[in-house]
Symmetry: C2
Subunit: 498 residues, 2 copies
Amino acid sequence: MPDHIDRANPETTADAEAAADATAGDWSGEALRAALGRAADWTVDYRKRIEERPVLPDVAPGDVRRALAKAPPCSPEPFERILADFDEHIASGLTHWNHPGFLAYFSSSTRAPSIVAELLVAAVGVNAMLWRTSPAATEVERTAVDWLRQAVGLPDTFTGLIFDTASTATFTALLAARERAGDGVRDDGLPGGPALAVYTSEQSHSSVEKSAIAAGLGRGSVRRIETDDAFRMRPDALKAAIGEDIEGGIRPAMVCATIGTTSTASVDPVAEVAAIARRHGVWLHVDAAYAGPAAMVAEQRALFRGWEAADSIVLNPHKWLGTSLDCSVLLYRDADPFRASLALTPTYLESEDDETNLMDIGLALGRRFRGLKLWVLFRCVGTDGLAETMRRHIAMAEAAAARLAEGGVFELAAPVSFSTVCFRAAREGDPAGEERWNRDILARVNAGGRSFLSHTELDGRYTVRLSVGSVHTEERHLDDALEALHRAAADLSPGEPG
Amino acid sequence: MPDHIDRANPETTADAEAAADATAGDWSGEALRAALGRAADWTVDYRKRIEERPVLPDVAPGDVRRALAKAPPCSPEPFERILADFDEHIASGLTHWNHPGFLAYFSSSTRAPSIVAELLVAAVGVNAMLWRTSPAATEVERTAVDWLRQAVGLPDTFTGLIFDTASTATFTALLAARERAGDGVRDDGLPGGPALAVYTSEQSHSSVEKSAIAAGLGRGSVRRIETDDAFRMRPDALKAAIGEDIEGGIRPAMVCATIGTTSTASVDPVAEVAAIARRHGVWLHVDAAYAGPAAMVAEQRALFRGWEAADSIVLNPHKWLGTSLDCSVLLYRDADPFRASLALTPTYLESEDDETNLMDIGLALGRRFRGLKLWVLFRCVGTDGLAETMRRHIAMAEAAAARLAEGGVFELAAPVSFSTVCFRAAREGDPAGEERWNRDILARVNAGGRSFLSHTELDGRYTVRLSVGSVHTEERHLDDALEALHRAAADLSPGEPG
């Protein structure tokens, strides 16, 4: 009996016995009900006792794999044994994204209703490629996306759909932009055509470069525009870069501005960037994957000024809103360039319904019923509750930043934006020592198991990064992290510059 | 109380009352347990009584959307009400991919263990982008993929990973092929470089063209190679097309052969195609999305001759194996061209682990824990059980084809391959009448609600398509479909050619 399975709930584990006793391979209705009951118990217990686990697991590469059978079994095994193995060998080897001490990257935690929604999604197992292949899946997706649009205050000229990740959403937007800029790229391809360019700041997410590579524009097509001292794209530098390219016969295809950059959560001056893009007829994409949902928080709304001028915007409910991965929303003002860039309907998928077939927007044909978890989340939590959580995270991040700055050891490496704090233990005049010190501090804190922070580089200096975004994080978890940071800094203090 | 919720199971619905009574917005452990219990009951009941529903829902575009609230609620609503709405407005508007009468496209049904696995995946909610961000998720994915490789008899020189869909897998393979063919495409892009070409048969899936468009090669870069009278790629035509392109200064980038084409499930002569690709140093990708798992069936193995010579192969466990959507496995012999084409690690994602980071193979950064459902499936069913299901489907399809051919009304439109049958009610000398007749027959059968078949076009003629692949389909469901087809053909008989 694995430790983490809680047997104290007789009501729901009652017929778990049935699952344990069932002949392996029996997956009749009652066996399924019992197995789901066991998995539900595991789920509740996992969430309740997650703080007993270290955020990062204590495993070396290959450990988990070695604990699993090398070959698949020929015959069915009882579910009970599989769940025990899952608990013992797999759950213990996970990085716990739902641990309240998860303060690394951008958080992607799971609100409880989203778990229930995922079960229903699996139960029906539909494919929303065409409207016809599951009308409700398409229409719930459209509805949930529209609810998000309303919640973040964008005009109803925006519609959209849900992708797996922001990388896919941004790539899809780039294909539409490429088609608009390149005349006939869809049919003729890029070879023989003019060079195209993409503009984004030095602080933008790697997915912009990856999209440009995938789309055949080449990494060299991406102009990483200089940022100001708060890590925001400089409009004058953008203007100059576009002008220079046009001069050189290169066609600007897309400008990607970011609201909430990956390192510091800085906010590009979107209104100014939009004006420049509009003047040159260039597609404007806004990456608001992390911060976008925070437009639901009234006092943050000003940071989104100008984003309604974008051609496309990506926001990830699987980050700050707490739907489970994957749920990335792409909003756009006009579906035509998306269809023009990629839609293609073979005879075997023709249908006569006068309705959008979501497979026409994007590369993937098969589509999970992703809309349900977003729709369920809105209804189970409500927009006020969703906004309140983000407001609380922002306050916690600001308080943490103030305490870091006051402690005399750490200094902030960037203005605090949304719920993300960048800082380092400064060691003037000793860049190598400073980097080593901060690396060691971070490694020590993460090894402690109660907090997990990540790092980045700013102005060429190693920087520690703390981002609050898990629905499970409370003030005491920030206390833990700050205490661990100060303790590590003191323990590992390199003394005088060497 | 919605009709479809079964209240007859006191053991597991016991504390469902708690969920109903719980203050809306309370998602404590017990409320989550209760909600999961209700969703589990719904799931078991849905599967048990699915034949009471029509396969295709009786809804017009917009019906579902109009039944849902236009705006998101500010405050939490009780889960009970949300589940009732789901049952009443959403489930009734789905196309039921798990209905045993689902014989359209390629089936994607869900075996029960996969539903349980999806619940566990949602429970832990991890992101497998880096090994470090969830070691066990990466290692279970590698293990499950290797189990599949062993089960289908491919050598251990193949490794791989799981994508959402075959479209994404094929696109990713094309990017690797593009890099190999194009020198420096990653950095310099395609503009200014040589034209590249992709070779695939007239019968191959639309995702090949869509991938070429997305990758910037252009739809015109795809050579649709002629097929023989059994809809298999003609090696002589492939050879001629490659020769002609090389002559014209166009570089062959990829050959995509198919084992189990979308219309007829025909099998390209992969060994011959591989020899031609090898001679010219061209990347060979094999699309075995549908049929690949059938290599587990001993007597089908001969159809896969030569596929071990491929550079990459895609197989979809979410089709014939019964994992829930999405689960598409890409196998490859060498990871380097994939990394060379796309890998890109920004500072904020650097880690020092000596292990593959799966985000390096593919465009998407965030990655669901997709390996678990495949691993659970293998253990809960066993390779013998998985093979036996496919064997049964193939036998049912062959029997259905024989009965269709013998009935005097329908004729087979292609040789039966795997579990897919193409046929039409023939009307010699009256092509327009024939097409109308077959369209009407198909519409009538699908409107009946007990079977859902799809269509395609072969040799310019409208063709009805029946593919057996659902884990729920039994012989009586084929009986239903054949009876409905014959009845419709008789009722709608156009009489003498007019």
